[in-house]
């Protein structure tokens, strides 16, 4: 009895050995077959990869369809930024519109998470598909307002914050813009 179990277990051990070794040999063959398969490498600087329109990379500040700055210096983007790479200073023009006196993004800190874009109430701050903004000098990674501001409306062509916001500025009272409703009179009992 003892002898037979022993022989069975040794036989099993031997088949295991053989199977293990055969598996190694087969691995060699499989890898050798890859001599004839094409490389998956994208040779980057020559071959540019496709980046979708909503790809998150270099941040810009856009303008509304009238060519005015969209940014109202509300600071929500700076508050939302998890790495604190956005800094700005509020100013007010003669019409009562807020705008950033200066606007600074430190791209050496930026993690292109897109939270600033989500936080922005005016679609001013947007992420673009351009990811090639390396610099040899670290200081050049700090972008000022001049570097960030573009001349177009970016991803949202028709949006103008002051035409939908119900906010009074000089020459336009609450509810006077085309796509604004009249403000609700909270002191009236009428619905």
């Amino acid at each position: 009895m003892l002898d037979s179990t022993k022989s069975v277990s040794t036989r099993r051990e031997w088949t295991l050995w053989v199977r293990e070794i055969w598996s190694q040999v087969k691995t060699l063959g499989t890898v050798l077959q890859h001599t004839f398969s094409k490389a998956d490498t994208v040779e980057y600087p020559e071959q540019k990869p496709y980046t979708p329109p909503r790809y998150r990379a270099r941040i810009i500040l856009s303008r509304d369809p009238d060519g005015e700055e969209r940014c109202v210096a509300c600071n929500l983007c700076a508050a939302a930024c998890p790495v604190d790479c956005i800094a700005l200073q509020k100013a007010e023009d003669e019409h009562g519109r807020w705008y950033p006196e200066w606007f600074r993004i430190n791209f050496s800190r930026c993690i292109v998470c897109g939270l600033c874009e989500e936080a922005c109430p005016t679609y001013a701050i947007q992420l673009t598909p351009d990811f090639e903004y390396c610099e040899y000098n670290r200081q050049n990674m700090v972008y000022e307002k001049d570097d960030l501001l573009i001349s177009g409306p970016g991803k949202y062509h028709d949006y103008n914050f002051y035409r939908v916001s119900g906010l009074a500025i000089k020459g336009k009272d609450k509810g006077q813009a085309t796509s604004e409703e009249q403000p609700v009179d909270v002191k009236s009992l009428l619905p």
Partner: protein, 325 residues
Amino acid sequence: MNSAFSLQSIIGTVLGISVLLVVLLSSAAVLIWLERRLLGIWQDRLGPNRVGPLGIGQVVADMIKIFTKEDWVPPFADRSVFILAPSIVVIAMLMAFVVIPFSPTLGISDLNIGLLFFLAMSSLAAYSVMLAGYSSNNKYSLIGGLRAAAQTVSYEVFMGLALMGVVILADSFNLRHIVQAQEQQGWFIIPQFCGFVVFLIAGIAESHRLPFDLPEAEHEIVAGFHTEYSGMKFGLFFIGEYLGVILISSMITTLFFGGWLGPWLPPLAWFILKTFVFICFFILLRAAIPRPRYDQLMLFGWKFMLPLALINLVATGAVVLVQEG
């Protein structure tokens, strides 16, 4: 024998040695590029292809980098041994090339114990790794050194035993005679297939190449015995490893694949071609096979390869005895 010491023959030998040195060291450097390209091909990548045509300039770039690096000795290391260790492997590997017959006329020395000299030199190379592991004064280095010692001792045993079949068939320890014997008896790969497999596996273990690179197993013990090495001292270990690959490949060629023998092409071309195929095979092993666990390595060596080598030796001896009648 006296005529061998004439001025002419001395100059000839010195010239041969210098040519061999240059060829070996430069091909060891080119192997770094070749390995990276081949690994790339087998892993569906491209490998280094930027510097120069096909990326061959990578060799020069790597050399410049490694020569201009800071040559640093850690303050806690055993300084003299630390500096000595990397040179041992290169010297031992280069010494072993002395006995290899590259063609009917080429070859530095015709030692009549050539095979034993090769075995001795390749085991001396183990000192390099052990001393490096010991002198670095670092836990990981020491573990790497210990593993190297145990691995070399285990695999050395049947590395020699596997070659005894060849010696029995060729009736000589002289590598040139072994090749000449294969001219009459056919390549020894056919009668000595077991010996070939055992020697190949032992050779991989000897040169600490993957899958038997446990002494430097970077996933477990940082970089093993060369954790503390940098600059040209690390470069020497690197060169030593590639010299080991070339050495084992050319030994396989000499012992089992008829050395320089072959039709049409000149003998030296045959030797280089066969050696190149085995170098590529070494790289294929690295691309394909994962590293075994340490106890599996020992188990495989003592329980499988050693009996196989012994059976091969006994069987070969019996067959030769019967044939001689």
